[in-house]
Symmetry: C2
Subunit: 501 residues, 2 copies
């Protein structure tokens, strides 16, 4: 308050000097003084103030968020390992030219590093392009690998909906020349397993094929040169209604209204095997080589998915397009369905949590001789999953532990720091997870309270009498039961009581 | 060869045009053509060629390196958890101003991001400054946390010795106002546990205190203003001999030869409790308040380390200085000792694998009101540890598995793809780690060979007869033994035989 008064007085000084048309240097000096005072006060106008924050679109993960994150990762990694994947890692930045020409219009979202001499570098935009670079560089033609790491996009963040500028991707890819649709089917099985395991609620996995899309564009009368840009328009159908997409096609992109209307009929189709069969008989599509190839493979894919028992959650959807340029075959995207309005006929999708597809040309873009390595893969969008798990945990009021500590080494009397240090050292050396308070003479009540707060289940209490008797008093926090345990049996007793070996 | 001849012919064309003083545009066009041909040929002179590499000072981790990396991480993380640490994560980049003024001369090694509009960002240089920023931002005054993540330094890489521009740090820190030396002793215990657990060979943990160093400088006649720069000189003692350090002090830094010689006497001292006692009696040091404080705490630290039973590997070493500006108390550094020449008296150190210390002022630099949060922490230099583990593994010829697959689903006859898909789906759903070859009709020999190559211990073979009998033939790869297992018992049988539940 005294400071605010001082700022007001200073502002008055400045005002008066200006009014008096005083020496400009004098005014400038007083204005600087005023700004400085405001800055120290932390007011909105103080621009010198150091801002204590993380960069836009990023966040810290505290212990609680990390506990949730590790739960999700555990489910995802154990699925990837169940399917026999190896793991790799690549640097967070790549040579700028490695990323050039891979992302179409999205390239503007790439973070570049400052030119400080030496190579020009960019932060990775996804894990797929670094994977392709890795394969070409090491001449690997056959691998099944996962990669979990952060990627970077200078996008408009929407953090409450789990959209960040720094975010994790969890990628699983199969590279190699194999018989059609077997690896593709496994990718869909993986999405199904992970989403089921995480219990995120009902979901549907939309499937399509770039070849079907291209064939469809051809028979609808889209000129070859407009395939990619019309595909981008179709990709918006999950966010905006058809009318808007149509007017973009006709208005901005110069497509004939007739062609747009023909596309409009196809993109509202979705279904299963029977739709595939129907389209295979479609008088126009069946005449198009690409569409026929795509539909044939789609049929095979559905046969394999039937064997996996997961067609109930799969929808062949002609409106699915996927943004990225590099896809060449099957594409897919998993969306969670709204929970609340289960009475409505058509459940509303609340957002994509996984996506992927086949990209048979990307590795060849890096190979000096253009040798191709066919690839198919899936990326789990784990930030949105974190958001959902966080919200759910908050709602459930479940208390989540952020440490795994089994026992607190405590004392009831003073002058037992040395004894606590000796005992905790024994426990650590035996592999027991143990903590103690970093106080010479902590109060017993504070030590017990610490266990309550952090969920530590056991307290090992040393005291004069116990030391004489060669025992330690073990207290079970939940029941307040106390038992004397012989010192040489303590480790075993803690293991049994916490079920950890 | 034909291409090379074409390049030569083109070069001849260019030469002739130049000789004839032809139209400059014509010459430029032909030169461009020549460069293009050379680029396509991939010769040394072709500068258009795309370079397939990772950025300088970085590397990929393939499946084998990842398996080793995960072994090291597992040992480190389980130690951190044993000591009750929570885990946090922070963004890979920070606001540039967050890093400003924290690293002294090393600031020039910070990677900046390009200004693409918006905030100015830099890649993190270590995990300590982001941790301090996190504490101040969230007003946390009390936490024990670990953080394992990559940090970035535009240093001269020496990759064979494990020095990279992108590298992992594994940090454990204790923040809070506690009784002296208890958390500090725990940090040293942690280093001791991790290095013992990883079996990296003999090691020593050097310990010193910034207050002892400053006190020593004072009594040696170093002016206050030169403390930090003389400290930097002392820090070089692990790499260069005293004579060089002395001439830097006297020559470059203008210290009097007498002061340098006095320092020279102190910095050759190293030992244990008896050295601390002796220095506490030192007529000069004992008169210096800072040195006395530091020595008193060092004595206390050694008492605690005695209770932990680890003083055998601890050396109080007056030449240890540590580079970073922010340390305020105890500092330490663990070095591995040479294995080969065990007959030499003084084992030669082969490099630092862990380091840390107390930094009581750093959080206050971020707090708007300058509130201090005392901290002490340790950082494990895990890249050098990876290098050692990699070299050892290579020497041992131990075959390291890069997947955890328990069983390969195979078939001996043709036309059994559907049956393999059905069976593998059952196994995945039961949590068994299973693979199959992505071929319609793979040869049995190829399937068995795949198991040999990748270390898969079991093969589940489906065949016409087995299907009729309701059994699966389970083959144990190591012994070539084959047993028929009833289909409903297969999961259990695989679990038992691979000891995984």
């Amino acid at each position: 308050m005294a400071e605010e008064a001082a700022v007001r007085a200073q502002a008055e000084t400045v005002r008066r000097l200006k009014q008096d048309k005083a020496d400009p240097d004098e005014i400038a000096k007083e204005v600087a003084k005023l700004l400085d005072m405001k800055a120290q006060l932390g007011g909105d106008e103080g621009k010198q103030k150091f801002v204590l924050k993380t960069p836009k679109g990023t966040r810290d993960f505290g212990p609680k968020e990390m506990a949730i994150r590790e739960r999700a990762f555990k489910a995802i990694i154990s699925c990837f390992k169940r399917h026999g994947a190896e793991v790799i890692d690549t640097p967070v930045f790549e040579l700028k030219e490695t990323l050039t020409g891979k992302y179409g219009e999205d390239s503007k979202l790439i973070y570049d590093l400052k030119d400080q001499g030496g190579e020009l570098l960019s932060l990775r935009y996804d894990l797929t392009v670094p994977f392709a670079r890795y394969l070409a560089m090491n001449k690997i033609t056959n691998i099944k690998r996962y990669h979990i790491a952060k990627v970077y996009r200078r996008d408009n963040p929407a953090m409450t909906r789990g959209r960040y500028r720094e975010f994790y991707q969890c990628d699983f890819d199969i590279a190699g020349q194999f018989d059609p649709m077997i690896p593709d089917a496994e990718c869909l099985k993986i999405v199904h397993e992970i989403l089921s395991d995480l219990q995120l609620g009902d979901f549907v996995i939309k499937v399509n094929d770039r070849r079907i899309l291209d064939g469809m564009f051809a028979v609808c009368g889209v000129p070859d040169s407009k395939f990619r840009t019309i595909c981008s328009s179709v990709d918006k159908l999950d966010k905006v209604p058809w009318e808007e997409v149509r007017s973009e096609m006709v208005g901005e992109k110069g497509l004939s209204p007739e062609a747009a209307d023909r596309i409009g009929e196809y993109v509202q189709l979705h279904g299963g095997l029977e739709l595939i069969e129907r389209l295979l008989q479609d008088p126009k599509l069946s005449q198009n080589k690409l569409a026929k190839e795509g539909l044939g493979d789609m049929k095979l894919l559905f046969e394999y998915l039937t064997l996996f028992g997961i067609t109930g959650k799969i929808s062949f959807d002609l409106s699915l397009a996927r943004g990225l340029d590099y896809y060449t075959g099957v594409i897919f995207e998993a969306v969670l369905l709204q929970q609340e309005n289960q009475h409505v006929e058509e459940p509303v999708s609340v957002g994509s949590v996984a996506g992927g597809g086949r990209y048979d040309g990307l590795v060849g873009m890096f190979d000096p001789k253009g040798r191709k390595v066919p690839c198919v893969g899936v990326s789990i969008g784990v930030e949105r999953i974190f958001s959902i798990l966080e919200q759910r945990l908050e709602a459930s009021e479940e208390k989540i532990r952020t440490t795994e500590t089994q026992v607190l080494v405590a004392s009831a009397q003073k002058k037992l720091l040395e004894e606590r240090l000796k005992l905790i050292s024994e426990l650590w050396d035996a592999g027991i997870k143990a903590e103690m308070l970093y106080k010479k003479n902590p109060k017993l009540l504070n030590q017990l309270q610490y266990c309550e707060d952090t969920g530590i289940p056991l307290v090992a209490i040393v005291g004069e009498q116990e030391l004489k008797d060669g025992v330690v008093k073990l207290r079970i926090v939940a029941t307040r039961e106390e038992v004397n345990v012989r010192r040489e049996s303590l480790v075993e007793e803690i293991r049994i009581r916490t079920n950890q070996c």
